[in-house]
């Protein structure tokens, strides 16, 4: 299964990249996906996640072709 992972704002700077394109054999949760993409970095406490541009829990399942995004608390407005 093929998944696009995107990072934004301070998280993007910390990781040094804005996205990953990953291939997995088994079904994953959003939390698992982070571990696969960032094996050296634990999941930040206050991180937010979205799948296909909708907010999700970290234990939500990810499907083939999904776009998953991780980002810090939002500060717009």
């Amino acid at each position: 299964m093929s998944i696009k992972v995107r990072y934004f704002a301070s998280l993007k700077e910390k990781l040094g990249r804005s996205e990953d394109n990953l291939a997995f054999v088994e079904v994953l949760t959003v939390r698992d996906l982070w571990g696969g993409a960032n094996p050296q970095q634990s999941l930040p406490d206050n991180i937010l996640a979205a799948v296909n541009m909708e907010y999700v829990d970290l234990d939500s399942r990810v499907n083939d072709g999904d776009e998953v995004a991780f980002f810090p608390p939002v500060t717009g407005g």
Binding site: R6, F8, A9, S10, N46, A50, M53, E54, Y55, A69, F71, P72, P73, V74, T75, G76, G77
Partner: protein
Amino acid sequence: MAVFIVQGDFNPWQEIQKYQNSIDSLAGKIGAACIFIGTMRDFNLGDSVKSMTLEHYPGMGEKQLEVIVVEAHQQWSILDSLVVHRVGDIVPKDAIVLVAVWSAHRGDAFDACRYIMEALKSRAPFWKKERLVSEYERWVAENTTGYNLV
């Protein structure tokens, strides 16, 4: 209802007038318009701020703003609404965000406008990076709640 994310400077007063002209068919029904305009300050957390960059998640920004506006239309009796949010490089005094709500009675307009603004602050995927007068750059860590201020 309309949601716009814009790259360059925008004049909120002109946007309000332009949008209100476009909903002229509602004119006799409107008894209240509530407007919130957020502008950039030249200070934050005790420091002088020179400029700011507003990053967003293209696609999700629009989608989340639309979800928030639909929630407001479901909760209150409002006739129309307009949300404009700026992204990119911003300097003090520039407008960052505009929320305008039109309704028959003031209560709905006040409450829906407040709801849209507070939901936007906590859910719309935008991030501010400040550039201080000292040239130091920092990400704004989180938005404060607009409710329960002391």
